[in-house]
């Protein structure tokens, strides 16, 4: 963790091998600032070194994560390649233990991708989830184009990506998406802990083996997505209007 009083990401591991990675940046609202990503990776390093049986990723009550920060987007719009966001999805799909995303609060853009990288995904009826990239004028990234269809199905994923609409958990539940659970906010974390407990009771060596097999398609999806998404980013971030839309978007919020 960097030297700063504001703790952005933290973790703890229970005796039963259940690890908790908590995104607690109340100031930045779990936006992927340079410092946030650095802290996230640092905490994940510590968790991996401890070889837990399962990991629960948690966010704030109101926001799970808002995705990329303005600085990264402007860097991209100015023709610089920003790799730091991409590190998060790559690291998450390559863990040796299963991951449960407990998305109590809203998850947007790259924040939603954290959820998509997990093995089990739990959302809240009251919160909103959006692949908001297009609302800022550029094409989706971080693996969204392949990971989102695998969760919610190709047609709902298309609607989410083309419109950028922030869907309410309740709406996604009615659409019958592939989330494991879409529950009242207050029940999300308890459910994540219950699933984690069940996984933690299984033979960890076999769990690791199964994770290796089950995550193979996801690793491939991420590689496939990167090829297309990086190319689309080079083009869509190069449009002069994209820069204006990003500026306007952040001026309003």
């Amino acid at each position: 963790m960097s030297n700063n009083e504001n703790i952005r990401v933290t973790h703890y591991i229970e005796d039963n091998g259940i690890a908790h990675l908590q995104m607690v940046d109340t100031v930045g609202k779990n936006i992927f600032s340079h410092e946030f990503v650095e802290d996230f990776i640092h905490e994940l390093d510590s968790i991996e070194a401890a070889e837990p049986r399962v990991l629960i990723i948690e966010g704030l009550d109101d926001v799970f994560s808002g995705g990329a920060d303005k600085e990264s987007l402007m860097d991209l719009a100015n023709g610089h390649i920003v790799v730091r966001d991409l590190v998060i999805s790559e690291r998450l799909v390559n863990t040796r233990f299963p991951i449960i995303s407990a998305m109590v609060g809203h998850a947007m853009g790259g924040g939603l991708v954290i959820g998509l990288c997990a093995d089990i995904i739990i959302a809240a009826r009251e919160s909103r989830y959006g692949a908001v990239f297009m609302t800022m004028g550029f094409t989706p990234g971080m693996g969204t184009t392949t990971l989102l269809p695998s969760l919610v199905g190709p047609y709902i994923a298309s609607e989410m990506m083309y419109t950028g609409k922030r869907f309410k958990g309740k709406e996604l539940a009615e659409k019958g998406c592939g989330f494991n659970y879409i529950l009242p906010k207050a029940e999300v974390l308890a459910k994540a802990k219950d699933v984690a407990l069940q996984i933690s009771e299984r033979n960890p060596k076999s769990i690791g083996l199964l994770k290796y097999t089950l995550s193979a398609p996801k690793k491939k999806m991420l590689i496939d997505a990167r090829l297309q998404e990086d190319m689309m980013h080079t083009i869509s971030f190069g449009y002069p209007e994209t820069k204006e839309i990003i500026q306007g978007f952040y001026a309003q919020t």
């Binding site: 809203h106 009251e126 919160s127 909103r128 609409k165 922030r166 309410k168 309003q252």
Partner: protein
Amino acid sequence: MTKAQVIEVIKKNIVDNLDDVEVDGIDVSKSMKDYGANSLDIIEVVSCSMRDLDIKIPRSELADIGTIDALADKFMENVEG
């Protein structure tokens, strides 16, 4: 379009976007927050309503609006006929 019609559109979108709210139970002198709306719910109700009414108002002009009635007034400034 009358203000009553604009309010009907807003109410419909509130019901669609919030849990456990019925059209008849909405008091326009209140804020959407009083009915459990979070900030993203409000953005969604406003943008859905603007699409229904075929109007576009920059978000910066909507930031200080406190009640459903005041939102309807703002919409009325922009609807035709």
